[in-house]
Symmetry: C2
Subunit: 514 residues, 2 copies
């Protein structure tokens, strides 16, 4: 359990107030999941005060509660990167247009969604306001990075000379832009935040090891921090990153039965090394191209947390990444009781951060307990403590779990011992619930009609054998919208292809995906 | 002294190897400061492996050693922001062109340096390669944010309705772009990293308090973490942020006698509130415009650390922000001594991170001690430990300080106690040295010839009384390149203006500035 709370009690107080203030105005109902899942998602993101659309098409504003969640995903990931020998660096936002064309598949994959800077000055417009100064055109247009393999490849070619310079193990935390036509908060936005790791190695084996090492780290962070069970494995050729030899991913299942790719790790082979001429003198004196990898995880994972754990009352956050882990709500009626109750609540909330919890006291006087409970539920706070005059007399607090709504009167003096166990219980319960859901929504299909029926009725992952061709994969997608999420097995004698009836050479996990 | 090392020993090992590998190739000499300061700066940044130019005009690549330094500046600042009730959020990279024109002074200030996105697609070019698809023009061009007052103002207008929504205290860590014609690594680049705080308040008084509170935080981080002494105070009107009522800054003096603005804090009055119609219902039921502030500190401060503490051997880093605080170099000649010496060095370097130090063992076998010492000096590592066979026998290590080159044989067993004191001593010594330099380079000028002579000969800060007009300020700048860095005093009877001889109404600190 993460115990090092970054915020002091009084800070969490200020923080939550600022967040809370907004949601008082949000009395709108959350659409039930069963009624309209996409609408439910939108409602929960709004009611949880995570993000909203900005005035710029497809770009979101990540609000404090959402950004804090992202920080709590980012920090353990960053720690694991560093523990495995990676360093952070920062490469330019802009990529010269000519770089984009150097790796043929890469440009093919990204050309249609590139934001391009063409001018560098504004001027006063004749009719008032401002306009782009037509005399400020750039000699070479600049692409706002959709990903940084090209510009980093260019730098690696300068930096890497000898086998002693290898491996190069870098990561950057950055914003990237992919011009999307249909956007959804966190899940698909024109600009998003992510990390992109870029490494270079002397041998193909080392690059492959690195690719899988980072995949393992993603799996671990999803499981341990986000409480999101993921399956990991390679993609099919059609789903491979443009420019990669092989793409691996960690894949989760959302509550609507659709899959969501949580992170990817690419073995880029020597494709970018050749496109950007990244060579080194090996121990044998020969000049050779390096082998590179890249791997990334983005703010999309925030959307996955929402859709994995949320319920019809709003967000449900795993304790490890919850911006506020414990909220305490004092209950007071008579004016003469107020001071004592609020005083005890304040005492408790002061002790919690020292014990490592991100805690908040909700002592707003203009709100009744009901709306407060409602608000913290929508924000997904894992544990709520209620403290009234009778509790105070009895030396108790009522501990309420967000995930199952259960209430347990607990001696205030025992909180220090009870909370760590409770948080672990909640974290584990969320994971187990999501895992059970995935298992209940993973079906093996024997034939194409069964395959289509599962996807139409129940959704989830469908395991199926195919002949492994692009054509079959595309035909299945055409019929069901499902794509290969993970290749489970390549081999012979796997039984007949569900579509063509030819000998099956591949067993894959299919799903309709975000 | 910062004691919580984020990196484990073995990690620091890997980290430093990757960094170190590169510098073996950098045998180029560092130009002495006295000979050519700008060249010295460039050499030190390169030799210290902090950053380099990218293929994109004016954009830099921040290398791991430089980025880690930035992380160590960023983290304490972020902690102080949160401790004072601020939350992080994230706003879009792009700003609609029309937003830029809403605050007249603001657009005037930034129009000439805006990177503008006009298209959103590439296509294959007829002659091979790729080109901007002319059919993908945006309806409204998007400016890559040079700063975010406008888009944040737009959001605040939506979020703020009641006095209960105030104050709003947000910050974002982000990249910004200002199209600069003449760029220098860290000091002036087209893209840079920074934080920008944006707050909204119910009253002018609260906004002013916030403006000064954040200025104090900047002063504190510069002093305590960067060991950079700064002066703080208001700017003149000419130096005020476009759109602000009043700009305050913290200002440092570099070793070449030029001033560098480390951070700014702006009281924006109601200018942006009016431009973006940010209103709230006050306790008296009246709708009023809010009062806003903004404040920022950027990667520029990395350049300031270089120019404040560096010497003719390269970087000198304050212990608190040094990516590696202690490096241990085992000295071995005879093969039979190697194992024991490296073993003891490894033992020591394993204990240091547990004690909170960012430590690194340099056990590279293909390099002799000389080049290793040279490399760590250029990287500015505050403390080097040398351990040879004789030291091993005597149970000692030789402790070498980067800042003054002094060497002290120290019992290995006493290191745990000695290091914290030593690090504090070094941190304090760097600060004191910089402070003494500034004091020695702060001169009062009685007349304009003296003013010009000081700036031409000695440089540094020059204190002078003027009539406080823009014209005088511009005339002085024309003659000497010096600008008002800080207004010290506005009043009457301050003596005659050094330029016009009219009654002086303002005492200011002038300097030629970066």
């Amino acid at each position: 359990m993460r115990r090092k709370g970054k915020r002091l009690a009084d800070v969490a107080g200020l923080v939550a107030h600022a967040v809370g203030a907004k949601s008082e105005n949000m009395s709108n109902r959350i659409t039930p999941r069963s009624q309209d899942f996409p609408r439910w998602y939108q409602d929960v993101v709004q009611a949880g005060d995570l993000a909203e659309n900005s005035p710029v098409r497809g770009c979101m504003v990540i609000k404090p509660h959402g950004y804090s969640l992202w920080e709590n995903i980012r920090d353990p990931l960053d720690r694991l990167f560093k523990e495995t020998g990676h360093q952070n660096a920062y490469f330019p936002l802009f990529i010269p247009l000519s770089f984009m064309g150097k790796e043929a598949e890469h440009v093919e994959g990204f050309a249609k969604e590139c934001a391009v800077v063409t001018h560098h000055r504004l001027r006063a417009a004749a009719g008032g306001g401002v306009e782009v100064d037509p005399n400020s055109g750039l000699e070479e247009p600049l692409v706002v990075r959709p990903t940084s393999e090209t510009v980093i490849g260019h730098m690696y070619a300068k930096w890497i000379q000898s086998h002693r310079d290898l491996p190069v193990l870098l990561n950057q935390w950055a914003n990237v832009v992919r011009w999307e036509m249909r956007t959804r908060l966190f899940l698909r936005t024109a600009e998003f935040l992510w990390q992109e790791g870029h490494t270079a190695h002397a041998t193909a084996e080392e690059a492959q090891e690195e690719t899988l090492r980072m995949l393992d780290i993603y799996e671990r962070v999803c499981r341990e921090e986000l409480a999101v069970p993921v399956l990991k494995g390679p993609k099919s050729k059609l789903e491979t990153f443009p420019g990669a030899d092989r793409t691996y991913c960690v894949e989760a299942l959302m509550q609507d039965g659709k899959a969501l790719q949580m992170a990817t790790s690419h073995n880029l082979g020597q494709n970018f090394a050749k496109a950007f001429d990244i060579q080194f003198a090996d121990t044998d004196g020969q000049r050779k191209h390096v082998w590179t990898t890249s791997w990334g995880l983005s703010t999309r994972t925030v959307g996955a947390v929402v859709m994995t754990h949320g319920d019809d009352n709003g967000l449900v956050l795993p304790p490890r990444i919850a911006p506020i882990q414990v909220v305490i709500v004092p209950l007071f009626k008579a004016a003469d009781e107020t001071a004592a109750v609020v005083g005890e609540a304040a005492r408790i909330v002061t002790e919690l951060p020292a014990a490592g919890w991100r805690a908040h006291l909700d002592d707003r006087e203009h709100l009744k307990p009901g709306p407060k409970f409602y608000e913290w539920e929508r924000k997904g706070v894992p544990v709520r403590l209620e403290l009234g005059p009778r509790d105070l007399k009895e030396g108790k607090v009522v501990v309420v779990r967000r995930d199952d709504g259960s209430k347990a009167p607990t001696p205030a003096a025992a909180l220090g011992e009870a909370l760590p166990k409770l948080m672990e219980t909640i974290q584990a319960a969320l994971y187990e619930r999501a895992l059970a859901f995935r298992e209940a929504h993973t079906t093996a299909a024997k034939d194409v009609d069964g395959f289509a029926a599962v996807l139409a009725d129940k959704g989830g992952f469908v395991e199926a054998v195919t002949d492994g061709t692009d054509e079959t994969e595309l035909a299945l997608k055409e019929r069901t919208k499902a794509t290969v999420r993970i290749v489970l097995e390549d081999g012979k004698d796997l039984g007949p292809c569900i579509l063509t009836g030819k000998p099956g050479t591949r067993r894959s996990l299919f799903a309709v995906a975000y």
